[in-house]
Symmetry: D2
Subunit: 331 residues, 4 copies
């Protein structure tokens, strides 16, 4: 029974805390959040202790592992302190918005030798992991093209955008990770386009709300990503992998499976699940299971700090490509 502290009791912290509480392999010891009301109400609901000081919680001897769901700028310091204290760490992405700081942290993380996992939750979606499994089993032969569609139901507030690092680091970071994972090879060149078609305020912030990217690996595999901050029909999350022997695609996820037939349309289904908390509910649970299992068995973490670094490098390359209106080689 792994004894776990959850740092951060915001939207994502609450997801992690509830999953730890419900897990048969873990015990939720304490939830920490500087906002006392948030920390205490979460603790009460989940029947655990609470604290307003994450660093104090990290120091507790009855805590084996910490799950970090705090604001991005605290990810690196909390991670490094926790690893130094001998705890296992599951940290929300990104490690840091700044590539240099992230890289420096990764060196420290790897030096620590302690179990560290970066929370690229989408890899644990049952359909994503089945696609990965099928590729590795050779079902579709050699991968030729990966196509990822990623559209949010509605744009975040301007304030979020301002602190987000921009659409490539905030939103496409997941898609870049998915691309690397499914291609099975590192992309070496990136072409990116970005436009503001949803919300002109986003342009004011020098950001984009609608993007298209193409990438290639050294052996010539290709990847396309398209994203938008708004889709009227829900959170659209599609993966397609095309190979020499076949193709794999995931399907949409909806609140129920009802099909409607009437005089204006047939087989109409419900709008897609609205956003990532609903869409990736099962992925968050399975991500936690995978983290716990890797800690308990001492096996390699399914997502490491280096995966964060490489996804961030693709985001940086995409930004440079936009500036130069040219293909950019990935560092």
């Amino acid at each position: 029974m792994l004894k776990v502290a959850v740092l951060g009791a915001g939207r994502i912290g609450q997801i992690h805390a509830a999953n730890v509480a419900a897990s048969a392999q873990a015990e939720l010891v304490v939830v920490a959040d500087p906002v006392e009301a948030t920390a205490s109400s979460t603790a009460q609901k989940l029947n655990c202790e609470f604290s307003v000081d994450p660093y104090a919680v990290i120091g507790r001897s009855d805590v084996d592992a910490v799950v970090i769901g705090t604001p991005t700028d605290t990810h690196v310091p909390l991670t490094l302190v926790a690893l130094k204290a001998g705890k296992a760490v599951l940290c929300e992405k990104p490690l840091d918005l700044d590539q240099d700081k992230a890289n420096a942290a990764i060196v420290e993380i790897e030096k620590s030798g302690r179990p560290f996992m970066l929370a690229f939750n989408r890899r644990f979606d049952p359909s994503a992991s089945e696609i990965k499994r099928a590729i590795e089993a050779g079902e579709i032969g050699d991968v030729r093209q990966v196509i990822i569609t990623s559209r949010d139901p509605s744009p975040p507030p301007a304030d979020y955008i301002r602190r987000s690092g921009g659409i490539f680091k905030d939103m496409l970071i997941h898609d870049f990770d998915m691309a690397r994972w499914l291609l099975g090879e590192e992309p070496v060149e990136v072409f990116a386009m970005g436009n503001c078609l949803v919300d002109r305020d986003i342009a004011q912030l020098n950001d984009y709300d609608t993007t298209m990217v193409i990438m290639r690996t050294a052996s010539g595999k290709q990847c396309h990503i398209n994203t938008c901050r708004h889709a009227s029909y829900g959170h659209d999350q599609r993966i397609e992998v095309f190979g020499s022997k076949g193709m794999l695609q995931n399907g949409h996820v909806r609140p129920h499976t009802v099909h409607r037939f009437n005089d204006s349309s047939t087989d109409a289904q419900a709008p897609l699940l609205n956003f990532f908390l609903e869409r990736y509910k099962q992925a968050y649970e399975l991500e936690l299971d995978a983290f716990i299992e890797a800690v308990e068995t001492g096996s390699k973490m399914p997502v490491g700090a280096d995966d964060g670094r490489k996804a961030l490098a693709l985001a940086e390359a995409a930004l440079k490509s936009l500036e130069k209106r040219a293909g950019v080689l990935v560092d």
Copy 2:
């Protein structure tokens, strides 16, 4: 090149005439219809001769085969004369609404030794024939249940209903044939229910517009048929065959494949093709091909007169079941 006369230039006769004209294996020699304007306009469009006398046409030496698409009560006399004249015959179903007359005709037809095919067109639908082929290839093991859904877009006029022989002989006759064909065994007992839920005028005519039937074969295979004279979303034609090793179903047929996503629904498709002329367009073409091929090669007709007799016997059993509110053994 089979030289063909088409008798009847109404809705169904025109379909047959156009298919003969377009066939590379047949030549449309003449179209006959007692209504001269109908016969002549069809002939002009298809570039062939016309006649108002079907019997004269049957007698022509430059005619090898006749396709009979005239009113039901002329099917038997035209068929018998044509067979006696040595012609091959493709006759629209039913042979006759009266079971005794139909049976007597079948004896004559079989005595003639000439090629005769009854036009159960649905067997030639590409999905229906693929399902049959897959069953015979053993793909789903032993058939256990056949489920047929058959709904028309809107009820025919009262005048048609009056002459139709009733829903079981007019509409379910196709489903009874499909059931026999897919079960691969004769149904031996029939339970039927009929109600008027669409149009109260149909009840005045002692007919039904909404029915459910269950049947079993001697070995215990089961079949369900449900029908309705009205469906708001188009002509609903479904087949399901469930066996010990799997299940086969056909899908819907629509005018195009567009899927729509918006804030009220996703993956919405167009209403189904409206009625049998559109839905079974390809089936009518393939039916003619099968007839021509059987004539040319002298092989067994894919649908014989006896198939008409047996489908009619199921319709009669269903009617008796409704009267007696009990299972009725098929003669």
Copy 3:
């Protein structure tokens, strides 16, 4: 916070106990099962007390409600004792296999005036409840036909069959409840067919493994149910409701949404979820929520004892129909 005892810690009891433990509206106080090892291991896992005496548990003053998941023959006595003790009761179906005993119990239950809910879990499946909601909202106009397909992945052991009351009371009881609920009217006449196509041992026990039923209501609405104790492709649970203005159907539920394309097939998906515990996981959770809410608010229970009586009456009518090979009017 409703304080709940779960009676029975077998397969279904464990589902209920886990759902109570995970509920934010309820507290799992104690689990009772005459097999001590079963009771204690469940209690340990879910962090609650245990007992080997369900009657003692019912008597506890710190228990507000009991969930009964014990063997069928104990449903009535446990229910009546619990209601007399002033507890709210959620009882697994069926109340009793014997119609007279069930009816006598229902009289007592209704006299008690205490909250009682029968666990027809399928009504709480998100797609089933959406279909019901859409019907009531008038989306498809007047209901004309309900078609229910219900196939299990594999037959239970002979020993289970022997104690089950037969396929109509054990398996179709759910479908009869679904039929009543979706028709919105009581079926008044039942035609049934039953055969043994899966397992000849089931025939030895005077039971069936493959059935078809048709029913009608007083106003002429029709319903078809088909079932089989075996389906190679998983637990097939389909509902179709056809009305004057449209049709509603649920879709299949699978472990993931991956679609596969290769040189032999396209859009192939995974086999269906294997059986009811997986298929109706969410339904069991929502059923408990509905029970708790009705207890807490004092509102009418969504499924009452009388619903059990009426579903059982349809099963009895189906059995009589099989014997008489005729339509049987429902008592």
Copy 4:
């Protein structure tokens, strides 16, 4: 009744000739092909005259319109002679592989003032035209992204590749046209990637078999095209248009609609129709109808010479982008 000559009796010429012959609005007068056997056998099958001299045929006074399905390098001379002779022309794409020659021809074509249509057949696919219609009706609001997937079942022989002008001018030319048409705005910048993943011989010919393109319009609309010369599961032809109010997609086209369920997969369908002649059968028919209607009514041709020029300009831009590994502005 438009009197039509078809020039070229190869694969595509035969399609056009058969469609003219079957049309109720046109009469197939003559088929011309320098290979006499080809011309005569086609003529015999379709019951028309034949010639080995296309220029002689153009000169006939009983010919109103010519359909040009000859080798690419004859498209321009035949077109110009036919227009000068006062005939209406439907010409297979591309007008010419060389951008300068094509542009010079377009000037001549436009000067002629005669009806000229370029055969971008895919626009006439019922799903493509329904998507276009829905966009123009405002169903999905403002278009933001167009995504086109275009995969052939297998690569053409090296000899074809050599004369094809390369994958961008031969294969993507259709996708560039589709992109322009669906975006409703001209793409102004093109990024392209090309690799050889299917057949190394294609690399020897300085061509590619697998490509990805992204483009943007002046207002910021984006388009992605991905193509491959080989797909194991058939001819994959997908269109997606994503807008501010929704999304439109076409579905796959298969030889039948059968869905298979067994212990290894569910809802599996047949491989896609194998190649463009089958996949776009209906599009070729509707293309001819549209041409005839525009000639007869004197209305604007649905696809003009300028559409060919603009699609070719995108192909040229893509080739330059590959060379420069940068975005290329379209001339």
